[in-house]
């Protein structure tokens, strides 16, 4: 087989660009349906079917129908991007088959933007700096040519033909890139170490075991732009002289796994991955390993044991993985987002990358925003932006006019940031000082209906379930922590419980073996630190201000607050509420099943 050359890469790139340019005598318009997991889960495939039907039914030969990954604004899916000659690109949101038919008629046939379905000019997109996400929603992740059209595999060609390993490491060092999995270890340093050990074979591993509940950055990147990650891995492979790479991806992400496999196959077929890449004699083969559902496998040593077909239990470091990783061989493991950053750093230079950010945290960071906010989705922001700006400008503030209570960062290893610390800039060190962590980038926003004690219990329960059981503080300590939190939620809290939780939590942090145990008490410690009064209320007053903990709710209507609207009466499945027009409602406690339907229905916090 003839090797794929740089000329062919550029020819493919130019052809793909030409193909995607709208023109009078070709495709005059393009309907791009976003089909990431969030899109599909909201009905994007039905939208795609409707578009195909209409195009066929009306023989619309000059409209191209394309699919791409997530566009970033998950809460407004299904979504399309409409491109047509003579019109600016428009994103249409919250679609259903009727709406898309109308859009085809008006936007594509009459050349008129359908304002009422269009996404306006919102800060959600304006404040972002897409680097890792630069191709999101714009390319077809299942077509390598689309990636090549965006200068894909140019960086790999450059490192294979024009750069020494030292030069690559120097460029990455200049970029200031730190591990995006959460710990923030300098990437260049890790690669340097990986290169230093001269035992072969060496391995490159991409950690796609995104286990933090509330985090979906890696899924989205893998689904929307898989080649960027593969190219980053190949560049790392050249740097450390490795020829085998593994992507360990959660089995809960079937679409990401499918698209990665397609991408690897296409890359090998073309000759930009696999054997004799670009005819340079450099080989790099890749495999996708689906995880088997164990959170702890996101820890690097556990992940490697899992790849070896063993129980994923972390081991004591040193030796670090760069010295003795997979099968005891030198191994460089990085997160999805870290690898996805690499090709652009090589092409545009480390200095370009580090032009954004703070002193110690350079470039951009991808966050997944979820919870009680208006704009849920995936965002990429420059390091140093304030949390407040993320919550109130980009995420559009709290939904339904409620009040912000806390931002949860870093999942079960992270913590809660209260309103008073919202001006904290997003960088590794500043976030850690608040008791939270940068983490992998999952941010869940809580409004006043989230009980902080219940939230602490939720995460502790998660860690109890996911503890591998190897060391005592984590295995047993977390269970004791959980039992105490359960007592609090059930109204059985006693004086001294807060100190007990704090003490035990700190001991677990100090004495646990791996990252999971060392960080598992963080959610408890940070809620006590910032929301101590809620713990005190649960213990002393047997009161839950968020009306979450059923055992602490009296189920009594506060007559002064009751607007006599009858919503609670209609919502009650047990027939326990008596109400008549212009009369406050009354709850019959003998019939009440404490299901909280009335509390959810009441818009005025009139039930306590």
């Amino acid at each position: 087989m003839l090797n794929f050359t740089i000329d062919e890469l550029r020819k493919t790139r130019d052809l793909a660009r030409l193909r995607s340019t709208l023109k009078e005598d070709g495709y005059r318009a393009r309907i791009n349906v976003h089909t990431g997991t969030c899109g599909v889960g909201s009905g994007a495939l039905k939208i795609l079917d409707t578009v195909m039907e209409e195009v066929k039914r009306q023989s619309l030969k000059n409209i191209e129908v394309a699919t791409s990954g997530c566009a970033g604004l998950c809460s407004r899916e299904p979504m399309i991007t409409a491109e047509a000659l003579g019109l600016p690109p428009v994103k249409y949101i919250d679609l259903n088959p009727e709406k898309i038919r109308q859009i085809i008629q008006e936007h594509f046939l009459q050349g008129k933007i359908v304002e009422k379905f269009a996404l306006g000019d919102i800060p959600f997109f304006n404040l972002q700096v897409p680097r890792v996400l630069r191709n999101r929603g714009a390319i077809d992740p299942e077509n390598i040519e689309d990636y090549i059209a965006q200068d894909g595999y140019e960086a790999l060609y450059k490192v294979l033909t024009q750069m020494t390993a030292e030069q690559i490491i120097e460029e990455v060092r200049l970029s200031g890139l730190r591990g995006r999995g959460g710990a923030g270890f300098p990437t260049a340093e890790k690669w340097e170490e990986g290169r230093k050990y001269k035992r072969f074979p060496k391995y490159v591993i991409c950690n796609g075991d995104e286990g933090d509940p509330g985090a979906f950055m890696d899924r989205s990147v893998l689904e929307a732009d898989p080649h960027a990650v593969l190219e980053g891995m190949a560049i790392c492979a050249k740097t450390i002289d490795s020829h085998e790479g593994y992507l360990y991806v959660r089995a809960e992400y079937p679409l990401a796994i499918k698209r990665l496999n397609i991408a690897i196959e296409q890359g090998k077929k073309l000759g930009v991955l696999g054997k004799n890449i670009f005819g340079t004699g450099f080989d790099f083969d890749l495999w996708v390993y689906p995880g088997a559902g164990a959170f702890v496998c996101g820890e690097s040593t556990a992940l490697m044991y899992s790849l070896e077909g063993k129980r994923g239990m972390p081991r004591i470091k040193p030796p670090r993985s760069v010295e003795a990783g997979l099968w005891g061989q030198p191994t460089v493991l990085n997160n999805v987002e870290t690898f996805a950053n690499i090709p652009q750093i090589i092409l545009k230079g480390g200095r370009w990358y580090s032009s954004l950010g703070t002193e110690k945290s350079k470039g951009t960071k991808v966050f997944s925003l979820a919870g009680a906010i208006n704009n849920i989705g995936l965002v990429e922001v420059p390091m140093g932006i304030s949390l407040r700006s993320i919550v109130f400008d980009i995420a559009g503030g709290i939904k339904g006019g409620r009040k912000f209570k806390a931002a949860q960062l870093g999942g079960p290893s992270g913590g809660f940031v209260p309103e008073s610390l919202l001006d904290t800039p997003v960088d590794y060190e500043s976030l850690e000082a608040t008791g939270a962590i940068m983490g992998s980038g999952g941010v869940v926003i809580c409004d006043q209906s989230t009980c902080m004690v219940d939230a602490a219990k939720f995460f502790t329960n998660f860690c109890v379930e996911e503890s591998c059981g190897k060391c005592v503080p984590c295995r047993v300590g977390l269970q004791v922590l959980l039992k105490k939190l359960e007592d609090l939620v059930e109204g059985k809290g006693e004086e001294g419980d807060i100190e007990f939780l704090k003490n035990l939590g700190e001991h677990i942090v100090k004495s646990s073996h791996c990252g999971l145990g060392q960080s598992a008490p963080n959610p408890v410690l940070s809620t006590i630190r910032h929301f101590r009064e809620e713990f005190e209320e649960h213990i002393r007053d047997k009161h839950c201000r968020s009306l979450q903990c059923a055992a602490l709710i009296r189920f009594r209507v506060i007559e002064e607050k009751c607007k006599q609207c009858g919503l609670c009466y209609k919502a009650c499945p047990a027939g326990a509420i008596a109400w008549e027009k212009k009369q406050p409602a009354r709850i019959d406690l003998n019939k009440c099943t404490k299901c909280k339907s009335c509390i959810k229905a009441c818009k005025f916090w009139a039930i306590e």
Binding site: C38, E252, A292
Partner: protein
């Protein structure tokens, strides 16, 4: 779980052997081999362990250790459809527990039961499906459903039930 389940007698040991043969001598492929076997049988049957052990060179106890470590492996037959209810943070704050309970109630499942008596459905709680943007979420087999209420989740389960009834009739 009943050992008299028809699934156990239907096991295709020849196919299990075929899977193992492709990975002969490669201990490290244990997870992949067991995932393939589970895809074939719907669960990880005990009868497969000696076969896997023979081909891969791992002891049965090691295999058992691995199977019980990872959430995705099941030692008893599963329902035809797997419902994965997301219990991640975003879903939790948006009422995923209630959705889970309502689905279990609809399927008449006891507190510790994870598979329905008619073996049509298994329910699993998963840490996070990573579709927080459309929370609360469930996944039926490989299909994701989002922005759910307890009622709509039950409707989705009911649709699968209907489809199964259609197949019988």
């Amino acid at each position: 779980m009943g050992t008299d389940s028809p699934a156990e007698s239907k096991l295709d040991l020849a196919q299990i052997e075929q899977i193992c043969r492709e990975h002969e001598g490669r201990k490290g492929d244990l997870l992949i081999v067991m995932q393939k076997i589970q895809a074939l049988c719907g669960y990880a049957p005990q009868a497969a362990l000696p076969v896997v052990s023979r081909y891969l060179g791992t002891t049965s106890s090691e295999i058992y250790g691995v199977l019980t470590f990872y959430n995705r492996f099941h030692l008893s037959p599963r329902g035809k459809h797997t419902i994965r209810a997301c219990r991640g943070t975003a879903c939790h704050f948006k009422g995923s527990l209630e959705i889970l309970e309502k689905m279990r109630e609809h399927l008449q499942m006891g507190p510790k039961q994870d598979t329905t008596d008619n073996a049509l459905f298994s329910i699993e709680e998963v840490a996070c499906l990573g579709a927080c943007g459309i929370a609360p979420v469930i996944m039926v087999d490989e299909e994701v459903f989002g922005k759910l209420e307890p009622e709509t989740a039950v409707e989705i389960v009911a649709r699968y039930e209907e489809a199964e009834k259609g197949k019988e009739g």
